[in-house]
Point group: C2
Chain length 315, copies 2
């Protein structure tokens, strides 16, 4: 039921995922939306809207698709949960119904930021916790490293702490404290990084609090969208320009494809007792297929158990 294109594109994506990936996709939603597509369903009577207050939504709407989906994972009826809906409510439902892993301070949203030409950079926390302690950031780093290894096959993920200068003396008090803790955490911590390092091959995991992470993510998305829009405008500005654009497209298409969030399968909520994929709000069917692909992959690789070990071993 979630996302701007629900239920149409979401259901289409589920059908394609079932066919292409051989996964049993359980559709969770209102009967009208999910029934009659030939997929197994779990029906509910409520929906938490995209703009609804997440906390209230999850508490009051116990028969909503998000809460029911999280319960399905908890009860073993589903191996993972995929949602393009209200991010806060997805998080709340997963946290309340699946529960957090033992030893986890706070679950974090880990968003893979595509870097054309190399593996994505994982940014976390991308918005789950507006206020964090240094200890939480260290745990985010541990969880992000596990995700980088399991999802992107990065052997020793390079971890950076988002700050406003490389020197350990720079930053706010949270960053200064986290820097010292990260140095002694037994991780491949490469030090402080800046916003401009996110889109490079220099770093695999960027750790930050959920406020800064969300601001950075949205600023980056806004900036890229702006420039891509301007380039597109220029390409459409005359018949001659349109012809020229056709010549350039073969070189630009792979970059555009790689930057398209639909190509990647979405963010993950790390620290809950189950795989939870958060796809962006304008997810197309293709985005859903890729999200299901990642969900399947993370279940098969026992991501949650690996997180459990890392978190318990060094909480």
């Amino acid at each position: 039921m979630g996302g701007d294109k629900a239920p149409g594109e979401i259901v289409q994506g589920a059908l394609q995922a079932a066919e292409q990936l051989g996964v049993d996709v359980l559709l969770v939603g209102l009967p009208d939306a999910v029934e009659g597509h030939g997929l197994p369903t779990l029906t509910c009577s409520e929906v938490i809207g995209m703009d609804e207050d997440p906390g209230q939504g999850v508490r009051r709407k116990k028969d909503s698709s998000l809460v029911r989906a999280a319960e399905a994972v908890r009860d073993g009826k589903a191996s993972a949960m995929v949602s393009a809906g209200n991010t806060g409510a997805t998080m709340g439902a997963a946290l309340l119904r699946m529960g957090r892993l033992k030893g986890v301070h706070r679950p974090a949203i880990a968003t893979p930021i595509p870097v054309p030409g190399t593996t994505p950079t994982i940014l976390l926390d991308a918005g789950a916790n507006a206020e964090c302690t240094a200890e939480w950031l260290v745990q985010f780093a541990r969880m992000g490293a596990v995700m980088a290894t399991e999802r992107f096959a990065i052997d020793k993920p390079r971890i950076g702490l988002l700050s406003i200068g490389e020197e350990e003396t720079k930053g706010n008090s949270l960053v200064k404290e986290a820097h010292l803790l990260l140095r002694d955490a037994g991780l491949n911590f490469v030090g402080n990084v800046e916003g401009r390092d996110i889109l490079t091959d220099e770093i695999d995991v960027v750790v930050t609090d959920g406020f800064t992470g969300n601001v950075a993510l949205k600023t980056l998305e806004g900036g890229i969208k702006f420039i891509v829009g301007k380039v597109f405008e220029a390409m459409m500005s005359s018949d001659e320009a349109k012809e020229a654009a056709k010549v350039l497209l073969p070189a630009l298409a792979p970059v555009a494809e790689d930057l398209d969030p639909d190509s990647h399968g979405g963010a993950m909520l790390l620290g809950v007792d189950g795989v939870c994929i958060i796809s962006h709000g304008s997810s197309s069917a293709r985005a859903v297929v890729n999200a299901v692909r990642v969900a399947k992959d993370m279940v098969e690789k026992d991501l949650v158990d690996r997180l459990r070990v890392v978190v318990t071993g060094a909480a």
Copy 2:
């Protein structure tokens, strides 16, 4: 002496500014660098390096170009100061030698972010204060509004508070507190904005703490640079592509020109008792000319006096 291209480009820029703008430019620096160009000079014996610790640099190097330049403004030998050097040291020198305006909690770096097609968005604080109180943010908003009016002729600047959602309940505790204060500050406060709003015509001044602001700024710069680089790569990928690029350039050039920081004249340190322009570290001669142009304009418009009134009237 400051910036990656100093002293060559900086001196060239000063010469061009003197000629084109009819401004008396006083060159401050080591004798070898500043003498013999036909401009008045103020020589010194020390330089604070780009990567030097700002606090130590300013305290120890009392005969550095940055400290001497700030003194020249304090002593009335110069009407404004322009630097492409170490940002922290520029700030420190200006603060120590010019002093802060009465009633100013903390000076802030106000960076105009170019938005092709409309006036720039002023982001402040872009890095002067890694940790802020809500009261400081309100004062940043007041000072940013004055700058928007004086520098970009915006009558009633629309002020936004950088957060992670438009709702006033979203954000960290600093943002929540600042939101309430800004609502009652008598400013044209339009509420919380997100990173993606910076590059739009919806907002004139974006207020944030110096940590978040600096992260947002560098993330945006990094993202734009990345995409522009990819487009350029595509344009150079074959002879055919190079030909096609020539057709598109007339449409893309104005956007590139507008996004180029050299076109705009740099950031300003607001809250000190003098005009202080901070140009970026890779400033070309053209950047220096534009920085001097803005300095002249701000002196002529009595920016500092207007800030003084706004800050004293409602501190």
